[in-house]
């Protein structure tokens, strides 16, 4: 019989996960003899918690959150890293007169928490800007998952993902000419985003490792197909969304943006970004010790 696997996504069903959705829809998992269940996430679902509780076999999460979880005793291991670059940005409307990082102090910045806050704090830490709300530092707001705080003027700068909220900002009439944009990748402050993680002990089981390998192979095939056929991929995403919230237009935009971050040919972890991620986390004492065995190449090696 097919190997049953459950994949817990980091967020709601959207084109950020197009590869997996397409692979499932196109039967790539069936071809690899994998019976995959995809669980959508949401703002209150911590994938790390789900996998620790045994609710999933594989999760999609950000490296910082994965390593932090490993540090608190959930032994997560990265088995593949389709996202090579970060989609995270901070945008500030021009009228707020923020043009460089030096202009930040005294302003209010919107940040997502729930495991998404690490890149921001790593960046501020690197720049030496305090985040405690003092006059020489910045005031941090827990931001909702949209661009309302910017429109409402509640925050001077807000966090966006290139493939999602930035699109909302564009729709709302914002753009490069009236926004100051801080792109984490371009600044070299990017931490690794969507990777695939499993529990460490399962890797002792060769049958499991084999199943993971087939899973990753099918997933990468899905990514390739999605990047090649953006329209069809967007449609598949919309059809997979049980909530009926996803719109074709927005998903199409998202596929386009995500394609800039994903490398469909290579699932392997990029060690420079990995090291930078680890260093940033260590600097901030988000993790206490250099992680050991937080990634494995057995799966990606087997793909080659």
């Amino acid at each position: 019989a097919a190997d049953a696997l459950t994949l817990q996504l980091k967020w709601v069903t959207q084109a950020q996960f197009a590869g997996y959705l397409v692979a499932k829809e196109k039967g790539f998992y069936d071809e690899e003899d994998i019976d995959l269940t995809i669980l959508p996430g949401g703002p209150n679902i911590a994938p790390e918690q789900v996998i620790a509780g045994g609710g999933a076999d594989i999760i999609v999460t950000w490296m910082a959150a994965g390593l932090a979880a490993r540090d608190t005793g959930v032994p997560l291991v990265n088995i593949a890293q389709p996202f090579k670059r970060s989609g995270l940005m901070m945008i500030c409307p021009k009228e707020n007169n923020i043009n460089t990082v030096a202009d930040f102090p005294g302003h209010t910045l919107g940040v997502w928490f729930f495991g998404n806050e690490y890149p921001f704090f790593a960046w501020m830490n690197k720049e030496g800007i305090k985040t405690d709300g003092s006059p020489e530092g910045v005031t941090v707001l827990q931001q909702s998952f949209d661009i309302q705080p910017m429109i409402q003027g509640q925050a001077d700068c807000i966090s966006v993902m290139t493939y999602n909220e930035y699109g909302q900002a564009l729709d709302a009439g914002y753009g490069p000419d009236n926004l100051t944009i801080f792109n984490y990748t371009e600044m070299g402050n990017d931490l690794l985003e969507d990777g695939l993680y499993v529990m460490e002990d399962t890797l002792d089981d060769p049958a499991k490792v084999d199943a993971y390998t087939r899973f990753v192979r099918a997933s990468m095939k899905g990514w390739q197909y999605a990047l090649d056929n953006p329209e069809e991929a967007a449609q598949i995403v919309v059809d997979s969304d049980e909530t009926g919230a996803a719109t074709l237009e927005h998903q199409l935009y998202m596929v386009g943006e995500v394609s800039k971050l994903v490398d469909a040919n290579d699932a392997a972890l990029d060690m420079t970004t990995y090291d930078r991620t680890v260093k940033a986390l260590l600097d901030q004492q988000i993790i206490k010790a250099e992680p050991e065995g937080a990634y494995t190449t057995v799966v990606t090696d087997a793909l080659k």
Binding site: N44, G53, A68, T72, V74, F113, Q142, S144
Partner: protein, 377 residues
């Protein structure tokens, strides 16, 4: 009554013995076995003595002493059984937990019977029972998380939560001030007052009653979760939006209860007021509001818990980086589940204290109501 006590006592004692005299325990040969077995003997003695003491009842102090003995041994049971290598999570372990539960229940039954008969004073002894129950829950929780090996990221053990509670006191305090003092209290006061005033207005004017009550019901039945993001959009990130959510949340129960309470005065009581040609306000103040007292307190108590939930939930949709709701949501994301539960514990204590104060006031104000007067007319 007494019959049930005996059954409970017998069952408890028997199942405690059963837990000890399992092959698992008796034949255990782990490292801890010899020492553990030594410990078992006095426990068996205690259980037997306590059990016999429970089944015979000569004087007041005698069952009490045996109860304490029994309760003490019950407390030690799971620990002692767990002392055997591999016994954690085994049948003997669970058996001892069941025994523990039965014995504690018996303890509570006995104690409350003694209070009811006047053998023990209400003040002082009265609080022992809920505390015992709480402790029992905590012990069971601890034992189950350990026994069943529940991952701490799903449900941490109370001991871990306690440690976190002690370590993060300043954070917890700041969160408490932000959420409870700044959001809950003003929101609660405004919401309850508004509910009361609207209920009186609605009751006063048939036009409003016909027009506003259905629409008011509709509006205020909005699931607050939904209005939370809207309130954040309208009132900003800080406590004002949370207070607004609390207002919206406490309004409906107060409205419904007060409207019901204002109809609680009996017809002869109203007739009396009619014979005095009492004005509307006089009837309201001297008859209908006092008669509505029990209903209004009902709403106040329900609201005391709703308010806290409302404020915390609203903080999920955007806050400054302080507040109980903020800490809980980010805590889950960071897998700092013990901090989350520490925060929950603070919320529970604060909410219970809030409720308790209201219940005390209620006893004072509606002393005349049969439900408060109780058996003694």
């Amino acid at each position: 009554m007494i019959f049930r006590h005996r059954i409970l006592a017998t069952l408890g004692t028997l199942s405690a013995l059963l837990a000890i005299v399992t092959p698992e325990v008796v034949l255990a040969d782990g490292a801890a076995a010899p020492a553990g077995r030594l410990l078992l003997l006095p426990i068996i003695g205690l259980v037997l003595a306590g059990g016999i003491g429970l089944l015979t009842r000569w004087t007041l102090w005698q069952p009490l002493v045996s109860l304490v003995l029994l309760f003490g041994s019950a407390l030690m049971l799971p620990g002692a059984v767990a002392g055997f290598a591999g016994a954690i999570g085994g049948p003997a372990y669970w058996q001892s937990l069941i025994a523990f539960w039965l014995l504690t229940w018996n303890f509570a039954e006995r104690l409350s019977a003694a209070i009811r008969d006047g053998r023990l004073p209400e003040t002082g002894t009265g609080v022992i029972i809920p505390i015992t129950f709480g402790l029992t829950l905590l012990i069971l929780w601890e034992a189950i998380t350990r026994g069943a090996n529940v991952p701490p990221v799903l449900l941490p053990a109370p001991s871990a939560i306690g440690t976190q509670l002690a370590n993060s006191a300043p954070i917890l305090w700041a969160d408490f001030v932000q959420t409870f003092i700044k959001s809950v209290i003003p929101g609660y006061v405004i919401g309850c007052l508004a509910g009361l005033v609207v209920a009186i207005a609605v009751d006063r004017s048939p036009f409003l009653k016909a027009g506003l009550l259905p629409i008011g019901n509709f509006m205020s039945a909005l699931p607050i979760i939904g209005i939370a993001p809207i309130m954040v959009m309208w009132f900003g990130f800080d406590w004002q939006s949370k207070a607004a959510v609390v207002v919206a949340m406490t309004f409906f129960p107060m409205l419904v209860n007060t409207v019901a309470g204002l109809n609680a005065a009996s017809s002869i009581e109203r007739d009396l007021m009619r014979t005095y040609a009492a004005s509307y306000w006089q009837t309201l103040l001297k008859l209908r509001l006092p008669a509505a007292g029990p209903f209004i307190f009902n709403a106040l108590k329900i609201n005391s818990t709703l308010a806290l939930i409302g404020a915390i939930v609203a903080e999920f949709f955007g806050t400054p980086v302080v507040g109980m709701g903020f800490r809980i949501s980010t805590g889950v994301g960071r897998l700092a589940i013990d901090l989350v539960w520490a925060e929950i514990a603070v919320a529970a204590v604060a909410g219970s204290a809030f409720y308790g104060v209201l219940a005390l006031i209620e006893r004072g104000v509606t002393f005349w109501h049969p439900s408060v007067r109780g058996g003694r007319a």
